[in-house]
Amino acid sequence: MNKKNGYMNPYLAGVLLGFVLLTTIYITGRGLGASGAMKSVAVSAVKAAAPEHYSNTPYYRSYAADHPQGPMKSWLVFEMLGVLVGAFFSGTLSGRIGLKLEKGPGVTNVGRLAGAIAGGFLFGFGSQLGRGCTSGSALSGMAVMSYGGIVTMVAIFGGAYAFAWFFRKMWISR
């Protein structure tokens, strides 16, 4: 472990993450994911708040057909519950637990929260169009050499670099 900041050596962490992904593929035949669990939450909210709309819309109907036991009974929901536990465990181990709002220099709290919500909104929306996010499409796609997954990965990181200059005030003081 790197004593300066308490984080693991990035290459070691990468190998660890790679082995977690490899184990997942070896046992289940599928990769990791993240946005799918948030989709389960979104779909469950619609089901609870507007049951009629839920049963009338073809989009939710096809989702319900894929998840006969209900939207929360999904592989990725259980996996993400594990992520929360694993991250909490790691944070406890390295003493990083605590309510905190992390932001760039000179950004207000409200500004940061608005940015996080807006960024989340875009990421969530994009992940549906791209059939998965950085985990499900880019990382897992790379592991199995999926063409679509690698194209998505290049688009995510390429897009982020292309837009980074416009939002530099949010992160760096220069």
Partner: protein, 399 residues
């Protein structure tokens, strides 16, 4: 052979396994520093390339692992989930996600890690992401055309580039090593430090970089387990050590019309050829797939004798040798090809002029046998076809 679910571990345990690998996933991400938004976006402003190092290392570790397991036949790579390719939606969605990354400072997986250790911005990002997914669902009718445009199925990048999987893995590994060195230089420059390419421990670093390269090169130069088995079989066959028993066309026809249930006739040609013509009661397992463990049980049925045939006598013999290699001792190969069998029974059964007694018997037998085999086939078609184990691709992805 893996994947372990559903054949070795029951699918009921899938959610428990999801939870356990999730813990590993969350732990690795948090330890890497992905719960910190400033560390994540550092990648895009050049002051911290941790994301690139972790992401690339993880991707390459898993990629080489999958390749190696497939090479050793420990993992059936033909059924694992491969994200399907839809270029227009992948590129549009990816660019929107890239924008979301620099605005929000997280991606979904990392926001969950941040949320787990109490970062309020992590929770805000999750809230936004859920809202974004909801919005996509509500506007789906307008987006469906873009979403479904240009479906290419589960294409692999090495197929698109026209290279072998191992070559692609080697390429990625070399790119990663160069990228790690280059970003180290950029990082030092942006942070105003003195630029050092190998700041100490260069021996360890060189060793760490050499391991994946050596692994991929080994995969490239050694035959896969399947190739190794086939080579060994061919060598044995060439040495005359293991001659498959041949069965004559007329003998097979005789056995089929009298006791077809004792024979497991297997057509090792392509499904298209099988569709055009096949011998009565035959099932189709292309030669390339015969080695697949899914068929092992079928090949080792005790009551039935396997009879293989193909489009060349060699194909039938190879199939027979594969079955023997996997423990079946009674397999036989048809002495004639599928085409010859068809000609013998269905095309040239006219009586020659001035036939000898023998010729007469043979032609009559073949005519009758052809009729009878057709009958058996029709009767069987009405019933359930003999087992053909369905091998389906694993479902996965983020949707």
């Amino acid at each position: 052979m893996a994947p372990l679910i559903p054949d070795i571990i029951a699918p009921e345990y899938n959610f428990i396994i999801a939870f356990i690998v999730g813990i590993g996933f969350g732990f690795a991400l948090e330890q890497a520093g992905f719960s910190s938004t400033r560390k994540l976006v550092g990648l895009f402003y050049g002051y911290d390339f941790t994301v690139l190092k972790v992401f690339f290392t993880a991707g390459i570790t898993a990629m080489i692992g999958v390749l190696l397991l497939g090479h050793l036949e420990l993992l059936n790579t033909s059924i694992i989930f491969v994200n399907p390719t839809f270029l227009p939606s992948a590129i549009t969605g990816g660019l929107i996600m890239g924008l979301g990354f620099v605005v929000g400072g997280f991606c979904p997986g990392t926001s969950a890690c941040a949320a787990a250790i109490g970062k309020i911005d992590g929770w805000a990002f999750i809230f936004g992401a859920t809202l974004g997914i909801f919005t996509f669902g509500e506007f789906f009718p307008f987006l469906e055309k873009l979403y479904m445009a240009d479906p290419q199925g589960p294409v692999l990048i090495n197929e698109v580039l026209g290279i072998k999987p191992a070559t692609f893995a080697l390429l990625m590994t070399l790119i990663a090593i160069v990228a790690f060195m280059a970003t180290g230089v950029i990082e030092d420059k942006v942070n105003g430090k003195a630029v050092k390419i190998f700041n100490g421990q260069w021996k360890n670093k060189a060793l760490a970089a050499a391991i994946p390269v050596i692994l991929v090169v080994l995969i490239m130069v050694t035959p896969s387990r399947k190739e190794y088995v086939m080579q060994k079989l061919e060598a044995r066959a060439a040495a005359g050590e293991c001659k498959p028993d041949l069965i004559d066309a007329d003998q097979l026809a005789f056995e089929l019309i009298n006791n077809y249930y004792q024979y497991n006739v297997i057509d090792v040609r392509s499904p298209e050829e099988y569709q055009q013509f096949h011998i009565a009661t035959a099932i189709n397992i292309p030669l390339d797939e015969l080695h697949n463990p899914a068929y092992r049980e079928l090949l080792n049925q005790r009551i039935q004798t396997n009879v293989f045939y193909g489009s060349t006598p060699l194909q039938a013999k190879q199939a027979c040798l594969i079955a023997r290699y996997h423990g079946n001792t009674t397999s036989r190969a048809l002495a004639v090809t599928a085409q010859e069998f068809k000609q013998l029974f269905y095309e040239y059964s006219d009586m020659p002029q001035n036939p000898t007694k023998e010729q007469q018997t043979l032609v009559l037998f073949r005519q009758q046998a052809a009729k009878k085999m057709q009958e058996i086939e029709n009767n069987l078609a009405a019933k359930q076809k003999p087992v053909k184990k369905k091998i389906t691709r694993v479902q996965g992805g983020c949707s």
